[in-house]
């Protein structure tokens, strides 16, 4: 059952946007909130990168995905567009699997 989770997630994301627009400004200007919220995307996206690159299920693994993320990292440093970064990672993994 995937639909309830999807719909709840959509409702939560819209609710957060709505809260920002409607709630009294002072509520969200607490310095603790102002400090914490910008850190959230950095931490969660980095954790996702680590998990999706270096683990399979519950095992830590080092495989072609590590090289793929490194190549994608070079693409980022070269300021490549989003699609090029994603495609360079995917193509690296595909090529290495073909060769190895």
């Amino acid at each position: 059952m995937i639909w309830p989770g999807l719909l709840v997630a959509c409702a939560a994301c819209y609710g957060l946007k709505l809260a920002g627009v409607f709630l009294p400004q002072a509520w969200l200007q607490d310095p603790r909130i102002q400090r914490t919220v910008p850190l959230m995307p950095v931490a969660l996206l980095s954790a996702l990168i680590a998990i999706l690159t270096f683990s399979t299920g519950h095992r830590l693994v080092l495989d072609v995905r590590a090289v793929a993320i490194a190549v994608a990292g070079v693409a980022v440093l070269l300021r490549a567009p989003f699609l090029v970064v994603v495609a360079s990672g995917a193509a690296t993994a595909a090529l290495l699997r073909l060769v190895l």
């Binding site: 709505l18 920002g20 850190l39 995307p41 996206l45 989003f82 699609l83 970064v85 995917a90 699997r97």
Partner: protein
């Protein structure tokens, strides 16, 4: 107007990869399109399908998506005072409160220009984001085994592209590394998706209890 279209087209390309990754993660065409129509906030959508694709539960994905959506609430605070949108229109405007529309609106000199930038970017983005999602999902349906094409390496590359612009200072860099290490340290011991919630909890604790550094 040209800026709005430019951003819309760039995000259409970005949506292509969302459609492809979501389909590869096992979501149906309808579910993929539904996320782009109703969630309409890129990082949350990518995280949702990333967690599901990695074997996590849909609820862990939902929690991660919501945590990533918290920044939109802060954008909403800035935009509602800047744009001066009143009444029921705010219900529609709220849906468009995301990274790109906020950046475009606050870059303008006067409130009318900001309002125009907000709505133009929002409409262009919403249209092209959903068209891109549909195209990416449809294209992936006709492709062979996703792993052969390296599609399992696509989500981390996408997240890297998303997080990179936020890493320009030492503190976010340290947080990024710390988050990655903590996540990997707990992966063997907790259900899929939970490492992200542990990381989120630590971020909240850090944000609340850290001494003022400036």
């Amino acid at each position: 107007m040209r800026d709005a279209l430019g951003i819309g087209i760039a995000s259409g390309a970005y949506a292509l990869s969302f459609g492809a990754i979501s389909t590869t993660a096992g979501l149906s065409l309808l579910q993929t399109v539904e996320l782009s129509m109703l969630m309409f906030t890129g990082a949350s959508q990518f995280a949702m399908v990333g967690v599901i694709g990695a074997g996590g539960s849909v609820w862990a994905g939902a929690a991660t998506a919501a945590l990533l959506g918290t920044r939109n609430a802060l954008y909403g605070v800035r935009l509602s005072s800047l744009l001066g949108i009143r009444g029921l229109r705010r219900v529609l405007a709220a849906h468009f409160v995301i990274d790109e529309t906020t950046a475009m609106a606050i870059a303008r000199e006067s409130p009318p220009d900001s309002r125009f930038a907000f709505w133009a970017t929002g409409l262009a983005l919403f249209t092209l984001w959903n068209l891109g999602t549909l195209a990416g999902a449809l294209a992936t349906h006709v492709l062979p085994d996703p792993k052969v094409l390296g599609f399992d390496a696509a989500p981390p590359a996408a997240f890297l592209a998303l997080v990179a612009p936020r890493l320009r200072a030492r503190e976010p860099m340290a947080i990024a590394l710390g988050a990655g290490v903590v996540a990997l340290a707990v992966v063997p011991f907790v259900p899929a998706g939970i490492p992200l919630l542990i990381v989120a909890t630590l971020v909240v604790l850090l944000g609340v209890f850290r001494r003022e550094s400036h």
